[in-house]
């Protein structure tokens, strides 16, 4: 593979030619001169070619609708299938989310699916050589090893790394699989991408998801980005954002880096990485001091405003300017726009974020501050408003809902006895199982069943193996790990992880590609990799970021010897002695089982309803509106695309906008849940910890109401009813989850009201003592976690490591990049790993564009190209995170099995990102640390 890397590596002329393409001026002038004319009121207008038939001209070709497998926008497309082979893709112009649009990754789907570099058959590493083995042999070996480890060390010594790239059904089965193996040591990418969003939003107003659909941003007054770069991470979301901008919305981007999104924005605010909270509090401070906030909304539907203000009043624009490096007047300008949307009176504003906000030691607090900013003006729960967390993977919302997570059971049920009994009740319908039988599968530690103890998270799973500096709180360290559809280069501290991968007894990789699960560990044996089929070779439902559930059809039969993930689980379950619980023949049955028990999010999207929507979107052009995703005509009139949860029963149209309470529940209305109860609460009368009522005004119920069981009585029993439909309650306009208040002050969190805390490695030693990080935590998801100790140790680090390192996305690559770095089209666009560096900094350091440089931190160093650009300021270095195949300048491409190597390799930035973790969810802090740079 080395030769192909070189040949592509040389091809950076593409980017160079972009910069020097001078003939272009002619085109720019021509474009600027044309077209000032009247703006038509027709909003849904797209190029005329939309009406042209998109059907293929080739005979014998059928079109199959499916959903893109890259980001969480959930774009629809049609696969061109000829003789069982996918020969290309066609746009699905009626899909309300994307109207046929795709980005470069989506456009490469056929190439990625048919990639000759995929893993073709199960392989095992023996004596330093990769050897093909049969499926039976591979599965037997894995199952025997699992049995052996469970018998010797206990069930918690196997770690299950799940995936956000598989369907809801497979995610659900994966969590069930871990439960039947007797452990909570199961986790997946949601931990390292948006776990802080879930914790932050859910603790503010009960659900942890994006509140409004993508299309709804068309109705926003202001679209405020904070730590989001949709132009690269969610390109098709920009379709709606730029449409809103066209209609008069103001698009503001706040980011440490002048991103491609910032280039498309009306206003750009550059701030220092890791200072989101003071920036947001500065905006809130201006709004409240000017008395612009929505007092009526705050009084009726929120809790804790006064205590919140006690904290926020300290963050005046001048104080914030010192912390964030944003001029005070800019903060005042944003505050004014937020309070008075320039688009006009009556418009609501939305705030959007992604990894830029979540991946911090204060990630949960960042998100809480965004939610408070939304609450302050009453924008939460209105069309055009809300808080839009742009999630990453195609099904990461679904996998989070199915809770492939170490601290939840499917549909956000906790690990308490009641929750276990609820799901065991559901599983019991498939094959007999009792609570006691399940409990017997789990080990005990310190006199407590580990069934009720949060497991180790994926962000620090390697500490569970190493068990050295950070002794773990479970009987034995991890001895075996499944890397099931997970890119390990998206996890920080990769050198420690490599050590852990070399230390476990068996490493199992399950993925369409070999990935670095096969190659990062430098060990002669003890790795088995299984070829999973891609998303397009199996079917199932996927939930996009906006909670819209779409049925993804199978395009082709699995290529090579690859097998669907659920088949692999089934076979392992059989060998492990609980096969009867996994005897499904199709994904529809699994979805029906999910429907039975998922009351907290009320997922009642039966496969029939999802498929019916897809059919309607085929035969009747544009039956679903692009404005609000609702069917305006036809048999599905009134239904929302994708039946966004909560979808209360088989007649409910779905809830596109969470907490919107100016419409009845039966038409998609929703209330803040009465989920938060202080110690003195009684059924019917939920109180905060300081004795205030937590009931908030609701549609038709000015005083609000507590959560209701389906018989109408107060209480949390509704969550535990199996197969309930709540039709009687919905008919009375009662939301079974109650009508409560959103919290400015979340008393159960480490910071009830977020405060600024400097990052672990701060470029401002003078602020570290004033705004210190948290105290160390002895047991954070079974592992000790250091905060204050390391922050104090590194207080003056800025003297030696003067630049802030931040990381992010490239539009051409996805996640760990195993798929996209194996795709010729995408590699041609983005052939090499680089670090962005400001021209002034580059000049000082004697670096010219495309030189090799070292970026070094306390953890290690990366050898990358220098990309000299003004996107970053003089203090900041930016690196994309999709790269692997080099470790500190040394290629390990030879460790990939023959014929499965990727086309482009580079150093992984997560080798050098910081060892800080979010206080609530253990999210890694990849967005800010200190580094130094020098020429290689």
């Amino acid at each position: 593979m080395a030769t192909s890397t070189n040949s592509i590596g040389k091809n950076n002329g593409i980017r160079m030619s972009r910069r020097t393409f001078t003939k272009l001026t002619a085109l720019g002038t021509a474009a600027a001169l044309s077209g000032i004319s009247s703006v038509s009121a027709i909003q849904d207008k797209f190029p005329l070619i939309e009406s042209a038939s998109a059907s293929p001209e080739e005979p014998g070709v059928t079109l199959v609708k499916s959903t893109c497998s890259h980001c969480a926008v959930g774009c629809g497309f049609q696969g061109k299938i000829q003789k069982g082979v996918c020969i290309g893709i066609e746009p699905w112009l009626e899909n309300p989310i994307n109207r046929g649009s795709m980005c470069s990754k989506g456009a490469s789907i056929a190439e990625i699916l048919n990639s000759p570099l995929r893993l073709k058959y199960p392989m095992e590493k023996v004596n330093g050589q990769w050897k093909q083995i049969s499926w039976t042999e591979a599965l037997d070996k894995i199952a025997n090893k699992m049995k052996e480890i469970k018998a010797t060390y206990g069930p918690d010594s196997i770690f299950y790394m799940g995936s956000a790239k598989v369907s809801n059904e497979e995610c659900y089965l994966f969590r069930k699989f871990a439960a039947f193996n007797g452990t909570n040591n199961v986790d997946h990418q949601a931990r390292i991408c948006h776990s802080t969003t879930v914790a932050g939003l859910a603790n503010t107003w009960s659900y942890g998801a994006m509140t409004n659909p993508w299309n709804d941003m068309r109705h926003s007054g202001v679209i405020l980005f904070c730590g989001e770069n949709a132009a690269e991470s969610h390109p098709v979301a920009m379709l709606h954002i730029l449409e809103a901008k066209r209609r008069g919305a103001k698009f503001i981007v706040m980011d440490p880096r002048f991103t491609k999104s910032a280039a498309a924005a009306d206003m750009y605010v550059r701030f220092r990485s890791g200072t989101d909270i003071p920036l947001i509090w500065g905006i809130c401070n201006v709004i409240v001091n000017n008395n612009w906030h929505n007092k009526d909304f705050i009084a009726k539907r929120t809790y804790g405003f006064d205590k919140w203000w006690d904290v926020v009043k300290e963050y005046t624009p001048e104080v914030v300017e010192d912390i964030t490096w944003v001029p005070a007047d800019t903060i005042r300008q944003v505050a004014y726009d937020w309070a008075f949307p320039p688009r006009g009176e009556g418009y609501a504003n939305c705030i959007c974020w992604a990894m830029g906000a979540t991946q911090h030691t204060v990630g949960t607090n960042n998100i809480r501050s965004f939610a408070c900013l939304s609450l302050l003006m009453g924008y939460a729960g209105r069309p055009g408003g809300g808080t839009n967390a742009f999630r990453g993977h195609d099904n990461v919302q679904g996998s989070t809902d199915m809770c492939v997570l170490s601290h939840w059971l499917p549909a956000y049920y906790g690990l308490d006895e009641g929750s276990w009994k609820h799901w065991i009740g559901v599983w019991n319908r498939h094959a007999p199982i009792t609570y006691e039988e399940m409990k017997a599968k789990f080990a005990e530690h310190n006199g407590k069943s580990l069934m009720h103890v949060k497991g180790i998270t994926v962000s620090r799973w390697y500490e569970g193996v190493l068990n050295r500096e950070f002794p773990i709180n479970q009987p034995n360290p991890i001895k075996m790990a499944f890397v099931w559809g997970h890119s390990l280069n998206s996890i920080s501290e990769m050198k420690r992880m490599k050590e852990a991968m070399e230390q476990v007894e068996l490493l199992v990789g399950v993925d369409p590609h070999a990935t670095i699960a096969a190659s990062l560990a430098d060990r002669p044996d003890g790795i088995i990799i299984l070829p999973a089929s891609t998303q397009f070779e199996e079917e199932g439902s996927v939930t996009n970021s906006a909670r819209q559930v779409q049925w993804r059809n199978k395009l082709v039969e699995p290529l090579y010897e690859s097998k669907p993930d659920w088949w692999i689980m089934q076979e392992l379950a059989k060998r492990l002695g609980f096969g009867e619980h996994f005897t499904y023949t199709n994904m529809e049955d699994v979805l029906r089982e999910i429907n039975l028990g998922s009351n907290v999010i009320m997922m009642r999207e039966s496969p029939e309803r999802l498929k019916r929507q897809q059919l309607q979107c085929t035969t009747e052009c544009s039956v679903f509106s692009c404005e609000d995703c609702q069917a305006k005509s036809g048999p599905l009139k009134g239904e929302y695309w994708g039946l966004p949860w909560p979808c209360w029963n088989d007649e409910h149209p779905g809830t596109p906008i969470l907490y919107r309470n100016d419409i009845p529940v039966s038409e998609g209305g929703n209330e803040y849940r009465t989920r938060f109860r202080g110690p003195d609460s009684t059924p019917g009368n939920p109180l905060s910890d300081d004795g205030e009522s937590m009931l908030g005004a609701a549609y038709g119920y000015p005083e609000g109401y507590d959560e209701k069981n389906s018989d109408g009585t107060d209480g949390p029993g509704w969550k535990f009813e199996i197969d309930a439909d709540f039709k009687a309650l919905i008919a009375q306009n009662i939301c079974p989850s109650g009508a409560g208040r959103a919290r400015f002050r979340a008393w159960n969190l480490p910071d009830p009201v977020p405060v600024h805390r400097e990052p672990i490695e701060s470029p401002r030693p003078d602020l570290v003592d004033k705004y210190p990080t948290y105290d160390d935590v002895a047991d954070h998801f079974r592992v000790k976690c250091l905060y204050k100790t390391i922050q104090q140790e590194r207080k003056n680090l800025v003297n030696d490591y003067p630049y802030i390192l931040t990381t992010g996305r490239q539009v051409e690559h996805m996640g760990g990049g195993a798929e996209t770095r194996s795709c010729e089209y995408l590699v041609e666009l983005q052939p090499e790993m680089y670090a962005e560096i400001n021209p002034t900094t580059a000049l000082e350091l004697g670096i010219t564009h495309w030189d090799y440089i070292w970026v070094e931190t306390l953890r290690g160093k990366c050898k990358v190209r220098a990309y000299v650009t003004e996107r970053v300021n003089e203090q900041t270095i930016f690196m994309p995170y999709h790269w692997a195949g080099w470790l500190e300048g040394e290629s390990y491409a030879d460790r990939w099995p023959e014929g499965t190597g990727e086309l482009a390799y580079g150093d992984s930035c997560n080798v050098i990102t910081v060892d800080g973790y979010d206080r609530s969810t253990n999210m890694q802090e990849t967005k800010v640390c200190l580094c130094k740079v020098y020429k290689a």
Binding site: F21, L24, L27, G35, V39, A263
Partner: protein, 180 residues
């Protein structure tokens, strides 16, 4: 009679690369050759703009005039500029003549594609893939169909021009001064 053209609402282009990738998917254009690519100006600064550039199917194509072997021709019925790859001698005159740098001269080709080494290739509005078909396909520019933000419009100029004007107008008015 129709006249096929491309128009780009450059305020909407975000350089996602969809046009490039879908063109490769549709027309099987080999590595190193791009029928369309996005050019970025003022990168990293306020005023940064992206422009997808391909053959513009000129009304009076300079490439046609420059071609010594008359391999390039403009179709009368729809104005699409095409080339006869079997006539092309790969001299590169069209590349000199074109104001947009659209003509490509593939190099380093392998296997079946070897015979097209150095032979000019460019956008055909998806009428002809890289390896020419005997029967031309219907014009249907995939780059415009798939464009992630609908920035690229492709089709009959009479139909796309009003759409272009509508999309363009707002950007030249209210908020533009804040960007620059």
């Amino acid at each position: 009679m129709v006249t096929y053209k491309f128009l780009n609402v450059i305020e909407k282009c975000i350089d996602c690369g969809a046009c490039f990738a879908i063109c490769k998917d549709q027309n099987k254009v080999p590595h190193g050759t791009a029928r369309v690519q996005v050019v970025t100006i003022n990168e990293g600064r306020p005023g940064e703009k992206n422009i997808p550039v391909s053959c513009m199917h000129c009304t009076e194509p300079p490439c046609e005039a420059a071609c010594p072997v008359k391999a390039i021709y403009k179709r009368e019925e729809d104005g699409i500029v095409l080339m006869d790859k079997n006539k092309c001698i790969g001299c590169g005159y069209c590349g000199w003549a074109c104001p947009f740098g659209a003509p490509q001269y593939p190099h380093g080709l392998h296997g079946d594609l070897k015979e097209w080494e150095g032979i000019m290739d460019k956008c055909t509005l998806c009428v002809q893939p890289f390896v020419p078909l005997e029967k031309e396909r219907e014009p249907s520019p995939r780059c415009a169909l798939f464009c992630s933000t609908k920035a690229r419009l492709g089709g009959d100029i009479a139909a796309i021009l009003p759409v272009y004007r509508e999309k363009k107008a707002i950007y030249t008015s209210r908020w533009q001064e804040r960007v620059l």
